[in-house]
Subunit: 438 residues, 4 copies
């Protein structure tokens, strides 16, 4: 038997804000009660399989840097076992309650779909056992419909219906595996559902295909009794030039169009938000406003780079505002905080995985505490309510209720003479208030 991947690393524990231990939680104290709920239950952290255990450290200009042992084993299923051992060891060291995976992260692709499905079943059983042993739960599963060359022009939106069919086969297996493992949600991120050039793309037809595919999955979910929501992940571009699930607003329109609002929610990622030209807070606030909030992929991008860097989150200011939205809207529900984040290509030591996750978890915990304090003080809520107070009058409410016509309002405006005087938006004052908490 091989040496443990993380050597003799000790579990990471809460040691308080003054700790100088580089591998201790300074803010994440899982049993600490915040606004009536344990931190662990607020945050619902998940580690992902792909970035940490499947990515070899390559980028478009260079190959593997990590040299993980399981990436060099001749027997693919033995490698899958070794990988699972390392993954669950990390979950244990971090004391992280959830994980997430794609079918092909967990089990090797076979020569046929049947083989792939069989491989997945073996690993699903292994997961089941490991989950029972450790108490780790599954936040969500998903199917990889983008890496293999058959998907190079999309899965559901492929010009070849055979690819749609193949994708259906993969998704049924992944959805059922997720169900078997008690997954809280099932994810379908955009993958290659998009286009490289409109010259070879029938936009309308492809949207219809995508709508149909999701409907099929939603029907199947009900058939097998899977209770969690389906999650779509907004992303504007990469790998394709244009991803159909561009951002939260786009996905909302799509779900309206194909009548999928009851079954499908969004899984929002900071890095995707900024690539789409939105702040992370915007995407989260909008998802709640439109009733489609599902879950979060917790990472950060680099505002100066035009691609998905998937770094571990550490911007407390930004995250404080995001957690403020979450708390204000009643929490994450079945969702969670999935670290769809990867250590840098040069972070080649196994312990770097622990640094990345621990830092991210601690940053979330701190932001949660900030946001809770802000909410308890109504630091932002109170000025907001007062800013819109005019709309609470009966006259104003009648306008919104649709009881007054344009002509009536126009006449009223004419009568009132000079228009209303504006009042200060107070942005600097509000920003200073937030700074006090963040």
């Amino acid at each position: 038997m091989s040496a443990p991947f993380f050597g003799d690393a000790s579990p990471i524990t809460y040691q308080g804000p003054d700790s100088r231990d580089p591998l201790a939680y300074r803010w994440y104290d899982k049993n600490r009660v915040v606004l009536g709920k344990r931190m662990e239950d607020h945050l619902r952290f998940a580690a992902c399989y792909w970035h940490s255990f499947c990515w070899p450290g390559g980028d478009p200009f260079g190959g593997e840097t990590f040299l993980r042992p399981w990436m060099h084993m001749p027997d693919a299923m033995a490698a899958a076992h070794a990988k699972a051992d390392a993954a669950f060891e990390m979950f244990r060291l971090l004391d992280i309650p959830f994980f997430t995976f794609h079918d092909l992260d967990a089990a090797p692709e076979g020569a046929t779909l049947a083989e792939s499905v069989d491989n997945l079943k073996v690993i699903t059983d292994l997961f089941q056992q490991k989950m029972a042993d450790t108490g780790t739960r599954l936040l969500w599963g998903t199917a990889n419909l983008f890496s293999h060359r058959r998907y190079m022009a999309g899965a559901a939106t492929n010009p070849d219906p055979e690819v749609f069919v193949y994708a259906a086969g993969q998704v049924r297996a992944a959805l059922e595996a997720t169900h078997a493992l008690g997954g809280a949600n099932y994810v379908l991120w955009g993958g290659r559902e998009g286009y490289e050039t409109l010259l070879n793309t029938d936009l309308k037809r492809e949207l219809d295909q995508l709508g149909r595919f999701l409907s099929l999955v939603a029907e199947h979910k009900h058939k097998i009794g899977f209770k969690g929501p389906l999650l779509i992940e907004p992303k504007p571009r990469e790998p394709t030039k244009h991803q159909y699930d561009f951002d939260v607003a786009t996905v909302y329109g799509f779900l309206e169009r194909y009548d999928l609002l009851a079954d499908v929610k969004v899984n929002i990622e900071q890095n995707h938000a900024i690539l789409a030209g939105h702040s992370f807070q915007h995407e989260v606030a909008l998802a709640y406003a439109l009733g489609v909030f599902g879950s979060l992929d917790m990472n950060r991008g680099d505002g100066l780079l035009g691609w998905d860097t998937d770094q571990f989150p550490n911007d407390i200011g930004e995250m404080t505002l995001v957690f403020h939205e979450i708390l204000k809207n009643g929490g994450l529900g079945t969702g969670g905080l999935n670290f769809d984040a990867k250590i840098r290509r040069q972070s080649i030591d196994p312990v770097d995985l622990l640094h990345g996750h621990a830092g991210g978890m601690d940053a979330c915990a701190r932001a949660l505490l900030n946001a809770a304090a802000m909410l308890e003080d109504r630091a932002i809520e109170a000025p907001l309510a007062s800013r819109y107070a005019g709309w609470d009058s009966a006259e104003a409410r009648a306008i919104l209720a649709g009881d007054v016509s344009l002509a009536t309002l126009a006449d009223r405006a004419l009568e009132r003479g000079a228009g209303p005087q504006p009042t200060s938006g107070g942005q600097e004052r509000l920003e200073n208030i937030v700074s006090r908490y963040a």
Copy 2:
């Protein structure tokens, strides 16, 4: 009486591709029939009032450069008349069939709304007479709900309902003026409907306000018998940090949500498209696919600058693809090509206005001819049909019709063994084909 603004400039006429006259049309030959329709009827060009006659040449770092005579007249209504003289003189010199305006472009704002409305009536009468004299028609009118400080926090989405009311007053007058002048459409672009910071913004509430406002306008439009569509103009940011009408997909979701799809379409602009991270062709193609195409604001941005530069269009390659979409989808309908474009701040000679418009019109004409040839040859359509041919089989159509379940498809995939083989997307070949036309 003052000297004519354009001096002794001659009308610009079609002189053919070999002309070296810098102020001749080399491609725009209004009576030339293309795919069964006169060029003028295909293109439906409009000049706008604001950029060419109201903007003094200022930018955030400097003041006026143009020194237009009417901007220095003490009597505001006399200035409005002088401005109208110059504008209609330009329409005549260009032989441009349409124009567009905001209420406050045309007539000065008064001390009260009533005064403003009266001023607008005077100028509307003047326009009516000038339109009758010259044959120039109105593509659309709109109300300026963003320049005055009362609108600094939005019009329909203002936290103060009195501002909503005032805006209703302005829009009724502008819509009725547009109706009186036989306008083909009425526009409501986003203006300051958006936010500067989420710290002082109730997103959900503001969206509801905006939905209500549009519904009021739609109801009034029907009441007065105005037949044209209302047009919203997608734009992602500027003046606000986030504009609610971010892009076509966002507007579509909004129209779905507030049940406005029957009355409201989109007016798309190249510069707004690229600021939102989309190609111009994408926004146009998507609007047709979603059934919300309305009209175009014809300008170009600078892909290297992060703000709206509103330059006159001249990228024939890009425009060829856009006109291909338009022709393929049956043309502009009640819409047109409005030059929401401004000459550069350093282009201080009146004749620069003629150069800008003439160049833009010629570029559109040339792109139209390219696109028509491409469509007649089915240069792009034929390979596209062949790429998706697989979806024409009965089996594939049944999938899209919703007659087959995920399980059935998954079983089918398992039976078929190895997945399908991909075929080349042929992007370079298709790009070379387009190059042949553009």
Copy 3:
């Protein structure tokens, strides 16, 4: 005499981190000694005249929102006095040690250059008296060579040499006024030294003109005995499409080319840095590395917007890293932290100016404390030294000294067989360390 602009506002004082007073310093304690120096001497804060007292709140889509009294006075010199009263009142309320101004911020432009120069002299005298009364000092002065239409195509780089000459006249007066007021530096920011289109631009010629202009100013500075450095402000674009002073690296090359390194340094701004695709820290670190660091314009941009938003700074994480560079390199020298920052267009209350500045000063103070702690612990310095330790060997130093040829090194590489093994870059670990301080 008119009412005081800030009403009965009280001076802002240090009240400690737990203060809930929205107008108190929680971190800026000017006499607190940090690393052997008073906070005030570390930070050398300056308020600027233009954003706070000259900008009316307009943007490209709307006019004035602020309605400052001096902007509506018929007598320009009386207005200049009223403005100075308000400005020095703000300096007093903030207890800010420095200010900065353009010639035309302070004194109105006359019908001729001579008149403008006379106006400036009057106001310079006024400033001198107010500075003596209050103890406020001048961080730097500068000339506005970009707002008037004569400068629309640049000042030093104008195609018309008469504009170059006029600019020389303005700069002499502004430099001498700065000298008379004991200014610590003199600034020449790029203004409109750049181009809108290469079609009408002779790049090489304009660079030569700019080099010459700066040399003239440097010579004059020596002639009059002004001791402070000249400062250039890197900015990539806006108002022009391309500004010649694109970023620190570009300015460095320019100063090398025109032999100006001895007299000219850079004044770096966060918002300009990110518009150029660089982090603020990068520009500061590079300026120190190249020996051209001069001063900082302290504001922040919005990474999602493509223009200069000039917001008050509040990103403690980013600023901690910047202050770490500053402290590590011996401090600001004659430079300072100039708030080239403006309150938002909707922040129409005078008190919003106090909120903006106080928040910014507090954020800087906090970042300074973080950075000082980080430096004292060698938290980043120690791992850095160890990472490059290999270069301390005699063999490695000989390489850098130029004592070894490529052939010798290549032979050595051949002898050593397999190449060296990489070591982890440890980015996540280092980021977590910084998080502990920030």
Copy 4:
């Protein structure tokens, strides 16, 4: 022996603008004389080895799509031979005069540097023979100092001097191979010379290391009698967060600092230019203005994507302006037009390689013809000369010559009273002129 990679494809020949053959040159007529020189000698086209023959079609979200036979051969040297056969077959089919390669494109990396060098020698001999057979020439060679994990933290700028030494070994071999093959230039593009985070980076030290490395290569070049210039390739980011060779202006400053201007020029790429926030024309014009123009990597990026897409060029308008700069400045010199361009990941047919190159070559040819016509007519040159005519006066020339002081100029400005009147920049007129040619 295996089947020829391109099957029975015929050589691509010039067939004139009206040809409908998708694989014919419509504009590239190599022997056509333009401004006194053959098209082939103007354009000096080169195909690159890496994108077309070494890249498997992978991207960050998926693996190989191309399945090139030589990528699946067990014997690496046999694969290198098969690859060379395919490459030279493509050069022949395209009738392209030059090629370019990295050491590791051509020959497989061995277990030691010595093995790698030996492999390269074998392939160099093969190239020599094939070049003699076909007449294909080498535009430049280079060494891959970025793909192997040893280079993950840079080559010359690595914190470990052993990596610097190893890189020296690789570069000597690649430079000597380039010399042996009669290469016209030698390239050192930035690779991973940059940083991921300033937290683990000593900026100044790394710049010094890079300066030293280039000096070593320059010395060796002279020692072995290699006459061509060394070329650096500006790129702002990717693979690293910050590349030291950010853009032309940055590289110029670097070359000044390390006294390398005599030996090193720049190899400019469109995609890198726009990633740096510059137009392609800007970078080319600036390189000529600063005397550092070397060569071009001819591709295009996508202005809406934030990464290097390396598409084949087809924007005639942009390229016309670039060729105008080239012709105006006397041509490419030892440089050429290297297609550092790749077919899309979905373009999996060998013939797609021919479509990509042929389209790119034709686009260049057409742009060259446009530019030549524009230059012959002095269409842009004449208005430019007239715009700056004021600087031709003796008085103005004295200013630039440094014969007049600031004080003298300032006095002159005071005497002249009101400042100069601006004249129109005429941008729209000039753009229309260009449209006539493009």
